[in-house]
Amino acid sequence: GAGVSQTPSNKVTEKGKYVELRCDPISGHTALYWYRQSLGQGPEFLIYFQGTGAADDSGLPNDRFFAVRPEGSVSTLKIQRTERGDSAVYLCASSLISADTQYFGPGTRLTVL
């Protein structure tokens, strides 16, 4: 079966613009996680969904970042008024249930000019 997919694979935008990053989890996985990985670092937790609801959004850096998962499947990470410091690889992972094995997508590389 298909793994976790993320689109786009690369996104280049200008400072101040709005971007949306999409994650398609493995079918049937109820838990979905977003991470941000900067160059030379490990993934940094952003937000975790259990079904449609955000169970833990404590990792979102500020109110410019928002994520939704309206039907409990696909999730979108939204970043408003992008800043150069937002440049990173954004990773999505899903698991059958929370705290179970996470399967990661390939990530979206975001570059803010």
Partner: protein, 111 residues
């Protein structure tokens, strides 16, 4: 605050050599995972350890979880160029329902 420390940050060795990488914390883990990540891809889970003192083997890879559950190591025997990648540990701490990642060890195995 960095909850997990991984060492070394970088490691470059010749094919056939053995190596060990470490993951340490000042706090007790509920469980710990090791991942391998290649450029342009997401991390792939290698192993999960949950019991203090636990040792798991995956072919040439040996994973150890410290008795006090504050540290873990990954030992690779007879490294091959295909082992090249970023090795990440991720820990789950009591009362937290998420994993915290270390900054990784970047391994390069030269043929």
């Amino acid at each position: 605050t960095q909850l997990l420390e991984q060492s070394p940050q970088f490691l470059s060795i010749q094919e056939g050599e053995n190596l060990t990488v470490y993951c340490n914390s000042s706090s007790v883990f509920s469980s710990l995972q090791w991942y391998r990540q290649e450029p342009g891809e997401g991390p792939v889970l290698l192993v999960t350890v949950v019991t203090g003192g636990e040792v798991k083997k995956l072919k040439r890879l040996t994973f150890q979880f410290g008795d006090a559950r504050k540290d873990s190591s990954l030992h690779i025997t007879a490294a091959q160029p295909g082992d090249t990648g970023l090795y990440l540990c991720a820990a789950k701490f009591p009362d937290f329902n998420k994993f915290y990642f270390g900054s990784g060890t970047k391994l390069n195995v030269k043929p």
